[in-house]
């Protein structure tokens, strides 16, 4: 098997006397989807926040593309190629798809060969191209993203991440708060990312989603790794038992 794109060893994070994470290990390869499961307070959020630079680990090591890394903040992680997509998606609802994909990094052109101006045509064109690779149909790209459905908005957030060459995408409860058809779209999106050889970590409470798309399942319980299973070799009962600690 190839070198893992992300490798976590003995990761430990304490808040005062509370051990939010203790000695967590896992590997993640390109083209692989890892589901992060666990009860509330199990340490799922702490784990992804420690990987993407919101928190800094007290002990342990994170290796990204073979290099030991410690990101000072989420921006540093994003620039390195680890993008976190939160539930709220961080989209500016009043801007169109292109503007959101390029937010903070807009391409410029010259208006009448003279004045610097936003290159909206290019933003729309490149956004269209990247959204199409996700196999998601957007009715129109020139409308504010508030007009889009939940799944389409996910596609915009994911499209932004892959446009800027994220290699690892961390998704926090991507299917929560969506209707069933929209959940299916998001599952399809994650499959698309896998096909594009991206590595995906996603947090979910929904076992159906996990079994639909994940290659492996990492179960956390009280900050520790309760177990790691290949999806093909386990079932819902076993995962739930790992989550509640009766396995």
């Amino acid at each position: 098997m190839s070198e893992p794109v992300l490798s976590v060893r003995n990761l430990t994070k304490r808040f005062g006397g509370v051990h939010a994470l203790e000695g967590v290990d896992f590997d993640l390869h390109a083209g692989e989807v890892l589901a992060l499961a666990g009860d509330n307070g199990a340490g799922k959020s702490t784990l992804i926040k420690t990987i993407c630079g919101v928190h800094q680990a007290n002990e342990g090591e994170i290796r990204f593309r073979g290099q030991a890394v410690s990101f000072a903040n989420p921006r540093a992680a994003r620039e390195a190629g680890i993008e976190t997509i939160y539930q709220d998606l961080a989209l500016a609802d009043n801007l169109d798809v292109g503007a959101n994909v390029f937010l903070g990094r807009e391409p410029m052109t010259r208006r009448w060969g003279l004045f610097p101006a936003l290159d909206r045509a290019r933003m729309a064109r490149e956004a269209k191209r990247v959204i199409e690779t996700l196999d998601i149909a957007l009715p129109r790209l020139d409308r504010p993203v508030r007009a889009l459905s939940g799944g389409q908005r996910q596609a915009v957030a994911i499209g932004r991440a892959i446009f800027w060459n994220a290699e690892v995408l961390i998704m926090d409860e991507p299917t929560a708060a969506l209707g069933v058809p929209e959940q299916r779209k998001v599952v399809a999106l994650i499959r698309g990312l896998k096909a594009a050889n991206k590595a995906v970590i996603f947090i979910s409470h929904n076992l159906a989603d996990i079994f639909a798309v994940a290659d492996r399942i990492l179960v956390l319980r009280r900050g520790r790794k309760a177990g790691e299973r290949l999806t093909a070799e386990t079932n819902g009962d076993e995962v739930v038992k790992l989550m509640v600690g009766s396995a």
Partner: protein, 342 residues
């Protein structure tokens, strides 16, 4: 009745949506038509095809518009600047005092230039403080700029010695009352400000980030935009626009007065809102604000023109503000499929 479908696809009523989107234009044309017909019937004269009327409306529009144009940026970013009226008054007084001092020493041209510099430096102070309060100290914009409203008012009256400050300077007088190819000089200045700021808002990253901050501040932060610095510059811009308005006031009336902008504050906010901006941030345009300012000016001037008691102006403008917000809400529902809890 719900106007949205389950997955938030916008309902397709493009004609209604387009009408709602262009309502301010339609209303402006309607107003002009109304006064035109009235003028033809009552005075056998034209309201629109009358150079004096047009010049007067343009000048009537220019003053609140200069406050409103900076306000547009602030409101799009989700803030509000209540201090612009007295910031304008402060500039008016400082310009008058500075020209009185500098004119005898430097002559009329350099004297006016020194006056403008003094006025712009003076208004930069409230602008910067507003920006710091809102961006760094997290004071709600309504409160921070309300505080500055009082401070700028007091500073203006103190600088004026509690009275109006007369000033006599030929260059300044021309800037307030002269014309360039038939266009009043204050209107020329306003058109330049309009062109520059329309360009900044619609074509530059600065404008784009103004919308992004108003749409989702957190998203702007995560995208790496320096939101705090951007916000500081917004309030500075608003203060400069008000300062230009104050300079034009002094030029027009050959006197600086601390209360110059007091009645214009609400007109400026009204112009922004009528122009389609949301006070929750995220939407608005400079052209929309211009239409809003024109609507207010046409109502004010037109009612005087047809000899209606001037107090009707307040009622008319008040109704227009509320109607414009109602139309805007229905437009949002028509074009974007926003789900509401009601």
């Amino acid at each position: 009745m719900s106007v949205t479908t389950e997955i938030g696809e916008p309902v397709s009523r493009p004609l209604l949506a387009a009408l709602a989107g262009a309502w301010a234009w339609i209303f402006l044309v309607f107003l002009l038509g109304f006064f035109e017909i009235w003028a033809r019937l009552a005075y056998h004269a034209s309201f629109v095809l009358n150079g004096f009327n047009l010049q007067s409306i343009a000048v009537f529009t220019a003053q609140p518009f200069l406050l409103a144009v900076g306000q547009t940026f602030v409101i799009i970013a989700g803030g509000i600047d209540l201090s612009v009226g007295f910031t304008m008054g402060l500039a008016a007084v400082i310009l008058a005092q500075a020209v009185r001092l500098a004119d005898p020493l430097l002559g009329p041209w350099l004297g006016v230039l020194a006056g403008f510099l003094a006025a712009l430096v003076a208004v930069a102070i409230p602008g910067l403080i507003n920006g710091l309060l809102v961006s760094r100290l997290k004071v709600p914009p309504f409160i921070g700029t309300l505080g500055m409203y009082g401070v700028a008012e007091g500073a203006g009256y103190l600088a004026a010695g509690g009275t109006t400050v007369p000033v006599s300077n030929p260059v300044l007088f021309w800037l307030g009352n002269g014309t360039l190819f038939g266009v009043p000089a204050p209107v020329v200045v306003t058109l330049v400000v309009l062109a520059v700021l329309h360009y900044v808002l619609s074509q530059t990253r600065y404008g784009q980030y103004t919308y992004a901050i108003g749409g989702n501040r957190q998203a702007a932060v995560r995208a790496g935009i320096d939101v705090r610095r951007h916000t500081e510059l917004l309030y500075l811009l608003s203060a400069f626009c008000a300062g230009i308005g104050g300079c034009i006031y002094t030029a027009r009336f050959s006197a600086g007065a601390a209360q110059a902008g007091e009645p214009l504050l609400l007109d400026s906010i009204a112009a922004v809102v009528i122009g389609g901006a949301s006070l929750f941030g995220g939407s608005g345009t400079i052209i929309g604000t211009l239409i809003g300012a024109l609507i207010i000016a046409v109502i004010q001037y037109g009612l005087v023109f047809i000899d209606v008691a001037p107090f009707w102006q307040f009622i008319a403008v008040g109704i227009v503000i509320v109607v414009s917000v109602l139309v805007d809400q229905s437009r949002l529902a028509l074009t974007s499929g926003v789900r509401t809890d009601e």
